[in-house]
Subunit: 331 residues, 2 copies
DNA sequence: ATTTTAACCGCAAACGTTTGCGAAAACATT
DNA sequence: AATGTTTTCGCAAACGTTTGCGGTTAAAAT
């Protein structure tokens, strides 16, 4: 169990002081080129790397970001994390991933851990049960920037990066109108979620523009429920030209099961369109047309906002990422 | 930007020494009940938590585990991580998740970071391009146990926790035989992966037991390729009673697309069965019957192996988790 | 009344860094 | 030759803990 090399060991072997080694390694102008060379060579040889705990203890900064998500089994968060990691690598930060399991209590523990670790910043999609955002603001006060993404609190004065719910719902609705479809079955998620409200409002308003369009709106809070409500509603549509709109992947998975169960096939028997991050729609044939909410984009946006915060920008900002239509064969 | 409370602050406010506070907080017998009470009360009030960096610097132990996976967009790894987190929480460890993106270079960096952070142990599914396992063994020498799971190296003498490839392939094959199906189209993954070989061998051997069974074996290294090869093979089977076997979720996703494309429906037109962690099979109607490879089980097994290592067990062990048949409606 | 024992607590060093400050040596300026 | 100026480096304190050891009281034993 041989120890990792330390500044001290290098210093002793070279008959210089610890401070000289420290400075040489970070290219401090006080150290002569000759000494620097010597030191760097030995450091390379020994594969020296500073002990992050000691560094942090001394400097109070960790060069690592935390990403907190409710769940990992989610393509959207996955691509968000990818984007953050890509950027972080460039800037010499590492990223540590936390999963709150959508549990506010665990979320609190994670937050505490982040505070004690003095992470450089936090990207977080809050749980659906998070009500108290005071702890987040406290972090900000402690000098740890918090960027909320995707699932964000109502509170105004914080940094929020969201998908363009209205925009996504809008382009999905427009696609339906463009196809000249007059009968629309739309399945939305939990009525209480702000995301549902935003999508619903825009969707109905765009659909409402059309003449004598028949729009039926249903709600489901889970994949199973989505299957049930879709199953119950479908019989009313068979034979007519109609489309099913699903607000999310969760809903889409359920509705598609119902559609398959009824033996219906898109685009022959009906149109199907969704708002999605792009994983589920690709599992079916034909691939489902969807308005893309890109976790990757959101990640890039969030990161640049974070860097600005670290650089000193203190005013809060809400950024919305607009989505684009990915055309499959389901309409 | 008020600072976190420290031992020193508590000590000063109570007119005792730092060491007394430290000992009181960890219930050391040297400290009187009265003093302990005083100290604990103030600590609670101030929401004191030890600075992990200082603790680590002093003790050389971090009470955190690292989980390294090639990808996060994977239900199997997700449930593995869930299991680890559940257990870790119980034992007072936290877990930090790394993603190697299936890149051996990134994997090396992660390993280095783990070493410097002196994590208490590492759970890792190696990348498919990892050839040199010396760095892993070196960690073990440094006193950091390494548990390989799922994607494990060939090297004998290390701790490996794997899914029971043979067993899973076996029960899938048996299910096919039990249904009296004589024509089988089996799609496997990358020929070079050990997992493919293991599954293939067992599958063919069980199927081979049956009389005049017609088995066709195809390979695909991606979802798209799986769709292509399935598409090409399907016409030869229509009209006959047959089954499609998919070695993995990746394959299943592709094959299902081909099956839908041909307008075939399970179980009417064919049987479908797979080896899966259980996410994808549930997206279709009827749900696909599959031999379950449980990430959750693997996580539990891995964790208990880890704790044994930490407790001092030094001999390496390979554990195989057998799977069970989850019956959907596709056969 | 003296010694032994136990209960309780503080001192100080150590973990590996970073960094302000001061000092020695070398060099340049009068 | 004396003074000023760089260049180059080391000292030592600090970050917040943990812990061996020793010291002080008070109670118990002689």
């Amino acid at each position: 169990m041989n120890q990792n090399p330390t500044l001290k060991k290098i210093a002793e072997r070279l008959n210089v002081s610890i401070s000289t080694v420290s400075r040489a390694l970070k290219d401090h102008p006080d150290i002569s080129l000759e000494t620097k060379k010597k030191i760097n060579e030995l450091a390379d040889l020994l594969e020296y790397d500073p002990n992050p705990y000691a560094v942090n203890l001394r400097t109070h900064s960790s060069k690592e970001f935390a990403v907190v998500v409710p769940s990992l089994s989610n393509f959207f968060y996955h691509s968000f994390i990818s984007a953050i990691e890509e950027e972080a690598r460039i800037f010499g930060y590492s990223v540590i991933i936390y999963r709150s399991s959508n549990d506010a209590k665990i979320e609190q523990e994670i937050l505490k851990s982040c505070r004690h670790k003095r992470v450089s910043g936090i990207f977080i999609a809050i749980t659906s049960e998070t009500t108290d955002i005071a702890p987040f603001l406290k972090l900000d006060v402690h000098g740890i920037p918090v960027i909320f993404f995707d699932k964000v609190p109502q509170y105004e004065s914080c940094n929020k990066i969201c998908v363009g719910d209205e925009h996504a719902a809008g382009i999905a609705a427009e696609e339906i109108m463009n196809k000249g479809i007059k009968n629309v079955l739309a399945i939305f998620g939990d009525k209480n979620m702000s995301i549902t409200k935003a999508r619903l409002e825009k969707f109905s308003s765009v659909i409402g523009q059309g003449e004598d369009v028949n729009l039926q709106i249903l709600y489901a809070t889970s994949t199973d429920e989505a299957e049930q409500v879709t199953l119950a509603a479908l019989p009313g549509y068979v034979g007519r030209k109609f489309a099913v709109f699903c607000m999310s992947d969760e809903i889409l998975a359920g509705s598609m099961k119902a559609i398959q169960r009824k033996g219906l096939q898109a685009p022959k028997d009906l149109g199907v369109i969704a708002i999605s991050d792009g994983m589920i729609p690709l599992l079916f044939y034909p691939e489902i047309t969807f308005a893309e909410t890109s976790g990757y984009n959101l990640g890039k946006l969030s990161f640049s906002r974070m860097m600005r915060c670290i650089a000193g920008s203190s005013f809060a900002q809400t950024i919305v990422d607009e989505s684009r239509l990915v055309v499959g064969g389901s309409m």
